[in-house]
């Protein structure tokens, strides 16, 4: 009887252990698979021309996506201009001034906003900016991406501010600093690296968004003539090129995917580096 129980226990143990192990492998393996696949296909047609030239007309080979790379940079810049001040100041309010009820409502609404599908955010920016203007614009795309940044920016800023030990606030206030002064001169500087990291990771997240751009910045085969004109962006180019019926376009879509991934990875690594230099605040 006893040995039966022991055997049963051992079998269950082996089965469960393998099951969890396999699932972990699938989770990590997916990333490795995507990265290596993208690397193999992306590097093949990645060259200087791809990074510096405009797309060529259909039928002509060669050309690049310089306009989409610059377009993505412009969109992300606008997203930061919109998302960071709102997100950061909202986070300051949430962490420092909100009462229990306000805090609950704020957390709840930011969670909801975070859960809104990105295409809906795109439609929102479309209604808000594109419709009144009667044309697509870089500006509208930047606003859409900025709105997508807000919920995470609020929450991550608030978390890093809360992680600053209360003893630092007390120390500042015991020297005659007001609550606001303590916040500006001690608490925010202490949380600065964490907040910046949160924002960079957030930026990396929206860099790959395609859906909100389809209705807003649209696309452009040429250099975008201005902030209030449509622009190409890497994610939209990937979409357009991947579904087109030309082999060399598929190749370029792979390359664009690789460039986008490399940029996101670079931002991610920078963010981790900043965070690791966060210093002794959290000890």
């Amino acid at each position: 009887m006893k040995s039966f129980h022991n055997t049963r226990r051992k079998v269950v143990n082996v089965v469960m252990l393998s099951l969890t192990g396999v699932c972990t492998l699938i989770a990590a393996g997916t990333l490795v698979f995507i990265l290596s696949y993208l690397f193999i296909h992306g590097v093949r047609s990645l060259n200087w021309e791809f990074l510096t030239k405009l797309p060529t007309p259909v039928g002509e080979t060669g050309g690049g996506m310089a306009n989409a790379i610059i377009g993505s940079a412009k969109l992300l810049f606008l997203a930061m201009v919109v998302g960071i001040p709102i997100g950061f100041l909202g986070g300051v309010y949430l962490a420092e001034f909100a009462g229990t009820t306000t805090s609950f409502v704020l957390r709840y609404t930011t969670d909801l906003l975070n859960g809104v599908p990105s295409i809906v955010i795109g439609i929102f920016a479309y209604t808000l900016i594109v419709l009144p203007q009667h044309h697509f614009s870089t500006f509208a795309g930047g606003v859409a991406l900025g709105i997508m940044m807000i919920p995470i920016a609020v929450r991550s800023s608030a978390e890093f501010l809360r992680a600053v030990p209360g003893s630092l606030r007390e120390g500042a206030m015991a020297l005659g600093a007001s609550k606001t002064k303590a916040l500006l001169t001690v608490v925010i500087p202490a949380a600065k690296n964490g907040i910046m990291t949160g924002i960079l990771l957030n930026l990396a997240r929206v860099a790959g968004e395609t859906a909100p751009l389809l209705f807003t910045s649209f696309s452009n085969r040429y250099w975008s003539p201005g902030w209030d004109q449509p622009t190409a962006a890497l994610p939209v180019m990937i979409f357009t090129y991947a579904v087109a019926p030309y082999d060399d376009w598929h190749q370029q879509a792979w390359s664009a995917g690789f460039v986008l991934l490399a940029l996101v990875l670079a931002v991610n690594i920078t963010a981790r580096l900043i965070l690791s230099k966060r210093g002794p605040v959290a000890h």
């Binding site: 030990p165 630092l168 007390e170 120390g171 015991a174 020297l175 005659g176 002064k181 002794p280």
Partner: protein
């Protein structure tokens, strides 16, 4: 109430006098202080006179209200949500609740149990108080920083690395840095909330030595768990129990001839 009586009956250098002119020697006086965290009453009718240029220690078991009382003296308890204070605290005869809170905190400095240097350089830590209170030119600021570090007996150890992070210092040095930071605004009173509880004996000895030298220029109030420390550094000692000030007297009397049974039990180690 009874503490005042006890205080007046004993032959302490100053406590025996009740004439107006001797009141100048009283730096802080608390009258009938009650303090509540929500509905919990943490302090019960505390009345005490803290004498100028003396070291006053508060001892008592954990949770007896000694730190809470200390924090009412510079209005730090106001930062606690849903707390309430009754009674009066006077600084040089002025009600501290009628003064600007920043003025109170500038005049009554505080050093905390766990050293809490800001994540800035050593120089910036000490310069923080003068900057916040908005005085001093750049060169005056440098002088203030040097003087404060000297007063805190830290100057010789840090003079070559003023712009290093404060976190590069050892625990004992960090606590002396916090004392220097508090001294930089030239406080009249310095409140020390168990300043040595996280330090080794050598660092503790340095701080005690410092307290001894600082009392010429400051009135010092120290909360400590360590009775030997109170005996070593304090001129006066108050014993707190369950939110009440049981006895307040010269340190010698408290340790050698306590008037109350509770005090005797505590200082002889029978409980607490």
């Amino acid at each position: 109430m009874r503490t005042n009586t006890a205080l007046r009956n004993l032959d302490m250098p100053m406590a025996g006098y009740d004439k107006p002119e001797s009141r100048a020697a009283c730096k802080i006086s608390a009258t009938n202080l009650n303090f509540y965290y929500g509905s919990f009453q943490a302090l019960h009718g505390i009345s005490i006179d803290v004498y100028a240029n003396r070291v006053t220690a508060f001892i008592g078991p954990s949770g007896c209200g000694k730190s809470t009382f200390l924090r009412t003296l510079n209005r730090m308890n106001e930062t606690v949500r849903s707390s309430r204070l009754e009674g009066k605290v006077r600084l040089d005869g002025e009600d501290i609740h009628e003064l600007e809170v920043s003025e109170v905190r500038r005049r009554v400095g505080m050093v905390f149990q766990k050293s809490n240097p800001f994540p800035k350089s050593i120089f910036e830590n000490v310069a923080y108080g003068p900057r916040v209170n908005g005085y001093g030119s750049k060169s005056a600021l440098r002088d203030t920083v040097e003087q404060s570090l000297r007063r805190a007996a830290l100057w010789e150890e840090v003079k070559g690395k003023l712009h290093d992070s404060a976190y590069s210092l050892s625990g004992g040095q960090q606590q002396r840095l916090c004392i220097a930071r508090a001294l930089a605004v030239d406080p009249e009173v310095l409140l020390l909330d168990e300043p040595c509880s996280a330090l080794d004996p050598i660092a503790t000895a340095k701080i005690e030595d410092l307290i001894f030298r600082l009392k010429d220029s400051c009135t010092i109030v120290i909360v400590t768990h360590n009775m030997q420390q109170a005996a070593r550094v304090a001129d006066y000692t108050g014993f707190f129990l369950l939110g009440r000030l049981i006895e307040f007297d010269s340190t010698t009397s408290i340790f050698k001839a306590p008037a109350r049974k509770e005090t005797e039990d505590y200082v002889t180690g029978r409980f607490g």
